[in-house]
Each structure stands twice: as structure tokens, then as C-alpha cells.
């Protein structure tokens, strides 16, 4: 019989620092001192708030939805109800967390309805929404797709014109729980909190004028079945209901609460404490980069997917602006954090001035021709990069795993730049989105 342990972590936001001295030699052995460590292990997964990806104005100065009369012979506005993708992301969701959709916008513009294709369009009404579609993959091989949306206010101005006072008219809205369906029962929660994988699409519907939109993680609930593999226990699950709740009676010291297999309760002892420490370092880490090629300035209202950036160059050019072909630590780029450094890869004998972390680089792209191949390089220093090879005409996620130089901590800046080139074949290499996240040596729920 399956035995589940459940904790709500929704309101947990404080790290605990259990005292070390009372646990060292010569100190009196007391149950409470060991329990403090186990309780602290239950709070780690709730401290993330990882931004999985974001798409914003990013310095653009004009809205893609115009202020003009939508009653027109040509398509000048988005078609009513048409879904236009602006970002794609992928991540392994931190156990115990689900996603949030966060939107900042100014009132939406007009849409059009097509009366006669290419010759006659009427006003479809102002307004729009931003939606997030997530395909969730669990560790049992199952998947489910969910859709959540945020409606935006419509501009009251003529033709749905954009406001001339954006600071006064800026609005925000949030979908607090972007989750798989039916995550109420313990068995479902166990399935969807065991380090699942998510592939995320953010889209505009209608005349959205988006200032900023991000998808991030927020802690909610974690459930484990007592026979789950040891490396899945990123939380100790010590206390009931929530990490500060009632604790079981631990007969200190001992290895586990119930030492039977199956259905033994692994909590409460030194074995499980060690397993949780290992699982946290194995599975937890930051989401680092979530870039989309979508650009508010240049995107066309007829684009139903992210307008890709393309190169046919046989030598590397920078993905973002094609200005440079060589890595330049003093040039513009992204940053990598330095808080996730592992001991083995950053042994103190060498790592005082520098850091390195394992990452997964994911590129959503394609080649324009059959029998062609190209590659994307994500580079963090002159001696540190990860490459992703793309050799298909079908758009999809292409993955590369490797190790990138990172800072030791904030204040030690890292600059990360992405380059791409064609390796063989004709036409070009196309990229719509790019993501980078820290990935340990665990088997992901989906590759």
C-alpha cells in the first residue's frame, strides 16, 4: 500500500540555519538538535523563485499593435483570437514548486477580423490576453498539457490607441498557480512534485501591449511516497502539514522512523539526512538564461510564432545582434550566478578566484534546409563553452550539456554570449529561443 508524506510549503520563505556546535564532539546528545537539521532540510526547495524565462520590451520603443484605424484593406492588427507565440522555455521544475505567470502591461489595442483575405479587414474589438501553455512530463513517462491565461484591459482610446502616459496606465496581473490538472490528491501531487519536466509556451492573443512577462517558480506543496528512490528526496519531509508543523517522535539516534521494506518510513535518522543532502545538491540549482528572439519593435502582427534570428554564416556570429564573432568578456551578454557551485567541481585548491557549474543549454531552432547542420555556442569565457548541434528542418528543442565558467558570487561578474553558425548545407540556421539552467548528474524526466 502506498504511503504518502505531504508538506505545504506555500508560506515558507525563511531559511533555517541549525546550530552546528551542539552537534559536535563533547556536546550532549539531544533529539531537538538533530530535529532542527531535518526541519531545515524541508525549507530549501521553497527558497528559489527561479525565473524560468522572461519576455519584455527589452528596450523596444514602439508597440507592435498600432494606434491606427483597424478598418483597413490590409492586416494591420492581430486577428481576433489568433494565438501568437512570443516565448518558449523548458526547465526541470524544482520539486515542490509549480509555475506562475506574471504580466505587466498597458491597455491592449485593437484587433481585426478578416472579411476577405488580403483585401478587407474590419475592427475586431480592443483587448487581448496572454496565455501560457505548459506540457508537463512526469517521471513515470506520462505527460499532460495545461493552458492558463490572463486577460488584459482594453484601451478606451479611439482605435484602441496606446496610452501616452504609460507610467499611469501600467497594470500587472498574475496567474498564481500554473500547475498540472488535479494536483489535489496525494498520489497526484507525488507524481507532479518529483522533479518533473516542463516545456512552456507564452503567447499573445489579441492586441496585447506587454511591458514585461515572466514565468517563474513558486513553492507550494511537496509529496513523497515512502518508497521513492533516495535521490528524489530533496526535502526531508520531517514534519507533518508544513515544515514547522508537528514532528514525529524520533528515538535519537536511529537510522529511520520505520525500518521495513517496502513502506518503511525513511525519515528521522542519519541515513535519510544524508540522502536529502545529496539529493539537494544533485537536483537543485538556478535557472540562468531564458531568451526569446521575439522583439516588440520588429515583430509583425501576422507572426504566429517567434520571428527567428537566422544566419547562413560559416563562422560564428553573435545570436543577439550579429555584431561580433568572437567572445568578448567586456561585451554585452547574460550573467551566470555563482551560488550553485559544487564542491567537486570547485575544489578550494583551485577555485578561489573562479567558478564552474554544469549546465544544460537548450535551443529552440531548426535548419532551413534538409541535410544541413548548424551549431549554437554558449560561451562564458575564452576557455569555457557548450555547443548545441541542430540538423533538422523541424523546429524543436536541441540540447547540449557541459560546464560553464561562473562567478564566485555577485560582484564577480560573468558575461555569457551566444553565437551560431552553419556547419554544412545550404541556407540558414534559425533560432527562436534559448535557455540555460544548472543541471546535475540526474536522469531528467524528459530529454
Amino acid at each position: 500500500m502506498a504511503v504518502y508524506l505531504k508538506q505545504s510549503t506555500f508560506t515558507t520563505k525563511d531559511a533555517q540555519r541549525p546550530q552546528v556546535a551542539p552537534l559536535t564532539g563533547g556536546a550532549l546528545a539531544k533529539r531537538s538538535r538533530a530535529m532542527a537539521v531535518m526541519r531545515a532540510q524541508d525549507k530549501t526547495t521553497s527558497l528559489g523563485r527561479r525565473v524560468i524565462g522572461a519576455v519584455s520590451m527589452a528596450g523596444s520603443l514602439t508597440w507592435s499593435v498600432p494606434d491606427t484605424d483597424p478598418d483597413n484593406a490590409t492586416q494591420t492588427h492581430p486577428l481576433t483570437g489568433e494565438v501568437r507565440t512570443v516565448h518558449r522555455m523548458r526547465c526541470d521544475v524544482t520539486p515542490g514548486c509549480f509555475l506562475r505567470l506574471n504580466l505587466v502591461y498597458v491597455p491592449s489595442g485593437q484587433t481585426q477580423v478578416e472579411v476577405a483575405a488580403g483585401t478587407d479587414y474590419d475592427a475586431g474589438g480592443a483587448g487581448g490576453s496572454v496565455r501560457v501553455d505548459v506540457e508537463w512530463f512526469n517521471r513515470d513517462g506520462g505527460s499532460i498539457t495545461t493552458t492558463h491565461a490572463l486577460a488584459t484591459l482594453a484601451s478606451p482610446l479611439e482605435y484602441g490607441a496606446s496610452t501616452d502616459q504609460p507610467w499611469v496606465d501600467v497594470r500587472s496581473s498574475t496567474v498564481l498557480f500554473v500547475t498540472p490538472d488535479d494536483v489535489v490528491q496525494a498520489d497526484d501531487l507525488a507524481t507532479w512534485t518529483e522533479h518533473v519536466h516542463a516545456e512552456i509556451t507564452v503567447s499573445h492573443v489579441g492586441g496585447v501591449r506587454m511591458v514585461d512577462c515572466s514565468v517563474e517558480e513558486h513553492t507550494r506543496t511537496v509529496v513523497r511516497e515512502v518508497d521513492d528512490d533516495a535521490d528524489l528526496w530533496t526535502s526531508h519531509m520531517f514534519a507533518a502539514v508544513h515544515p514547522d508543523g508537528d514532528a514525529p517522535l524520533v528515538r535519537y539516534p536511529m537510522e529511520r522512523l520505520v525500518d521495513s521494506t517496502p513502506d518503511g518510513d525513511p525519515r528521522g535518522g542519519s541515513w535519510h539526512t544524508m540522502d536529502v543532502a545529496a539529493a539537494q545538491r544533485l537536483r537543485l540549482g538556478p535557472q540562468l538564461i531564458g531568451w526569446s528572439a521575439w522583439n516588440e519593435n520588429t515583430a509583425d502582427v501576422t507572426d504566429d510564432d517567434i520571428p527567428e534570428v537566422t544566419t547562413s554564416s560559416a563562422t560564428f556570429v553573435r545570436v543577439v545582434d550579429a555584431v561580433a564573432g568572437d567572445y568578448d568578456a567586456d561585451g554585452p551578454g547574460w550573467t551566470l550566478g555563482g551560488y550553485a557551485r559544487g564542491y567537486a567541481e570547485n575544489h578550494p585548491y583551485w577555485s578561489a578566484p573562479n567558478g564552474s557549474i554544469p549546465v544544460l543549454v537548450a535551443v529552440y531552432g531548426a535548419c532551413e534546409s534538409n541535410s544541413a547542420a548548424g551549431r549554437v555556442r554558449v560561451q562564458a569565457s575564452d576557455s569555457s563553452w557548450v555547443e548545441v548541434v541542430i540538423d533538422s528542418r523541424s523546429f524543436g528543442w536541441w540540447l547540449g550539456y557541459g560546464h560553464l565558467r561562473c562567478g564566485v558570487a555577485p560582484g564577480d561578474p560573468s558575461t555569457v554570449q551566444a553565437f551560431y553558425r552553419m556547419d554544412s548545407g545550404s541556407n540558414g540556421l534559425q533560432i527562436r529561443a534559448l535557455g540555460v539552467y544548472r543541471m546535475g548528474r540526474y536522469a531528467p524526466a524528459e530529454i
Binding site: L61, E255, P286, L288, W334, S381
Partner: protein, 411 residues
């Protein structure tokens, strides 16, 4: 450089400072101090236990060579690292998994560092790709790096001889000049390789706390079993969990920007509390910040241009509402706003490649009722004609110092 022999996972380290002296390289500088033998032009350890590393390991070789050289650099059974007239070849279980033609290897001898690092492949789909290898080649004279990678099965050889600079005594000897050899038990990233064999970076000036994993023994060690003291396990676990408080704290804002010049923006408003600064809606963000952080480090990549004028100020705000004229709820929270400002004095022109990073420092974090922080940029451009932001990063910081950087406060 870091002493490569002192690495705790070093199994063998041989060095010939002048190059090519096998007797010198046979002396093991690792902590084991177990020398190996010179035999007919190669270095050999028979039935080598320390080289029996079927999965994770790193081989580093520093040589002087050109594209006329060939021969084996390292051999353990049917697993080897070799060169062949400009190619570097990694062999696992008798199959060449990497044959890489070195771009920066010409007809004249130059110094190269060749590093072959192997680790488990987290993206494995079968036993055939259970491991992955990185081959990094550094031309020490030209200061260039090259890289190749491949996946492969676990190396199956065991109980073989460890052979350096040949495949067997008198066979397949390397025709270049070897200076340094190292076999390591762990995977070494290229960053570590560069710090060890090329140059040590200067110590950075850090903001806030530094975090590094505090290792805890695994259950397989038996350290947590019955009849063992429980205190030490809980003590190291306490250290580890405290070091994990920022484990998932990635950037809140990490973006590269469009090429538009911000001076053309009409999406602006003058800061009512400081008329020198104009706030830009196109740089307004609402993002979460890791709850363990109490500051955020802000950097922008700024390009600016004006004839005879070079100085402009950039300010990053962090507030619990989007600016001073935000829509308040019926019972609004106290308005909380902080900012940091930096001045940059440079004239970059308006070309597509100009600009530089500006480190604004750490800003205090204000959070709204849902836990989000509002960040935006403002500019005091004075007489600057053109400016644009080409990248913007906001990273969480846990600051332990008591000072309050920047300005602002409760409104």
C-alpha cells in the same frame, strides 16, 4: 598557476621542466608518490590499479608538437589518447570516439595543453552513451582554445598497464616533446584546467556572501549507520543546508536588449522625487527575488554618445509598486522604494558595437504583497544625444554588512 600535483584527485603527475626527459617524468609528484618506470622510450606502470578508472577521469598532457608529429600520449588497454599529424584522437574500448583536427596546429612546433575529461552523461538514453568526454586543446603560444565532445559507453578495460607517450614499450612512441603528464580521478572542467595549467585569475571583489557546497558523506560510506555517532552526520548536514540557502538563486533580470536608442523613447516620465532622472517604461520589470537575498546586484551595458559630453547617470529603482503614480489598492501598503545610481563618463559613438558594463552596485529589495519586486531604470542624460542599454542583469545578493547602499526608503 595552481600546482597540478596537489589536486586531491591526482593519481599521477610527471614533469620534465626542460621537456622530453623520461626519467624526470617517471617521478610521481602526486600525493601517492609512486614512481613509474621508463621502458624503451615510454613510461609504464604494469597492471596499474590507479589507472583503472573506467568512468570519470581526466588526462592532461602538456607537449610541444606540430602537425608532423604522431604517437600515443596515454594508453590503458584499448583506451588511449593519441596524435596523428595534426589530429588528436580519443579511443574508448577500441573505437575512436573523437578524431579532432587541431586548427591552431601548424608546421612549426608550439606548446599545447591537451585535456581529455570524462564524466557520466546525464542525458544518457542507453549504455552506449552512458558517459561523455570533453577534449580541450589549448595552444599555449597562441592562447587559443579548441573543443570537441562525444558520448560513449563506459571503458571496459581493467588490469591493464598504464603507458605514457606510447602504446607499449617501444611502440607508437610520441614523436613530439612532452613536458607534463597528469592523470586525475575526477572530471575537470575547462575552467579548472585553465586555472591549473594556464594562469590563475585574480581574486574578485565580491558582493555579499559566497556559497560553496558543503559536502556530506553519502550513505554508502557507512558513516550514518547504527553504532556510529549521529552527531557528526547531523553537524555536516547542518552546515550543508545552511550553504544551500541560495542554491537556486538565479538572476531576476538577465536580458540582452534591442538596438533602439533610449533617448528616442516617449514611454517616459520624470521622477517626481528627483527631476534630474527620467524613468523609462520600456525598462520596467516585475520579478521575484530569491527570499534569502536582501540586496540585488545591478549591472547595465550602456552605450552613450554626444559631441564634447561624456558623462551620464544611470539609476536602477527597486520598489513594491511601479513608480510613484501607480494604481493603489483600496488599502495600499506603504510605498517602499530604493535605488542605486552610477555615473559613466565615456563617449562610445553610435556604432553597433560600442558601450561598456556599468556596475551600479547593490540595491535594497522591496517586495509587493505577492512577493514581487518592481525594477526599472532611469537616466540623467544631461546633454548626451544618444544612449541605449544593450544588456541588463539583476542578481540576488545576501549582504551581511549593516550599511544601506543607495537611496530611497519608505514613502
Amino acid at each position: 598557476m595552481v600546482d597540478p600535483a596537489t589536486a586531491p584527485d591526482c593519481e599521477f603527475h610527471g614533469l620534465s621542466a626542460g621537456g622530453g626527459n623520461l626519467a624526470q617524468m617517471a617521478v610521481d609528484n602526486s600525493g601517492w608518490g609512486t614512481d613509474i618506470s621508463v621502458d624503451t622510450g615510454v613510461l609504464v606502470e604494469s597492471t596499474s590499479a590507479r589507472a583503472d578508472l573506467p568512468g570519470e577521469r581526466t588526462i592532461d598532457v602538456r607537449v610541444q608538437t606540430d602537425n608532423g608529429d604522431s604517437g600515443y600520449l596515454y594508453t590503458y588497454g584499448n583506451n588511449s589518447l593519441s596524435t596523428s599529424f595534426g589530429d588528436v584522437i580519443c579511443e574508448v574500448n577500441g573505437s575512436d570516439i573523437i578524431t579532432y583536427t587541431v586548427e591552431e596546429m601548424g608546421g612549426s612546433p608550439e606548446d599545447f595543453l591537451i585535456s581529455w575529461a570524462t564524466e557520466p552523461n546525464p542525458l544518457t538514453t542507453s549504455a552506449a552513451d552512458a558517459y561523455r568526454s570533453d577534449l580541450w586543446i589549448h595552444n599555449l603560444d597562441q592562447d587559443t582554445w579548441e573543443h570537441a565532445t562525444a558520448t560513449h559507453a563506459v571503458a571496459s578495460a581493467t588490469g591493464e598497464d598504464m603507458v605514457w607517450l606510447g602504446s607499449a614499450p617501444g611502440t607508437d612512441q610520441f614523436t613530439g616533446v612532452a613536458y607534463e603528464l597528469r592523470l586525475s580521478r575526477a572530471y575537470h572542467s575547462s575552467t579548472e584546467t585553465a586555472e591549473t595549467f594556464v594562469a590563475v585569475s585574480s581574486d574578485p571583489t565580491l558582493a555579499g556572501v559566497e556559497r560553496l557546497e558543503f559536502p556530506v558523506p553519502t550513505r554508502a560510506t557507512g558513516a550514518g549507520d547504527n553504532e556510529m555517532y549521529m552527531g557528526p552526520i547531523e553537524a555536516v548536514a547542518a552546515k550543508a543546508v545552511a550553504a544551500n540557502d541560495l542554491l537556486m538563486a538565479g538572476p531576476s533580470i538577465n536580458e540582452v536588449c534591442s538596438g533602439a536608442f533610449a533617448n528616442d523613447s516617449t514611454l517616459t516620465m520624470v521622477d517626481p522625487s528627483d527631476a534630474d532622472f527620467t524613468m523609462h517604461t520600456e525598462f520596467l520589470r516585475r520579478r521575484p527575488v530569491a527570499p534569502s537575498a536582501n540586496r540585488a546586484r545591478v549591472r547595465v551595458f550602456l552605450q552613450q554618445d554626444a559631441v564634447g559630453v561624456t558623462s551620464m547617470d544611470v539609476r536602477c529603482y527597486c520598489a513594491n509598486a511601479p513608480g510613484p503614480i501607480a494604481h493603489p489598492s483600496a488599502s495600499p501598503d506603504d510605498y517602499e522604494r530604493y535605488y542605486v545610481t552610477a555615473t559613466r563618463a565615456a563617449d562610445d559613438g553610435i556604432g553597433s558595437g560600442g558601450g561598456a558594463w556599468v556596475d551600479l552596485g547593490d540595491v535594497r529589495i522591496a517586495r509587493d504583497i505577492q512577493g514581487y519586486s518592481w525594477f526599472w531604470l532611469g537616466f540623467d542624460a544631461d546633454a548626451i544625444d544618444y544612449w541605449r542599454i544593450r544588456a541588463w542583469t539583476v542578481e540576488p545578493v545576501q549582504e551581511t554588512a549593516g550599511d544601506v547602499p543607495g537611496g530611497g526608503g519608505l514613502g
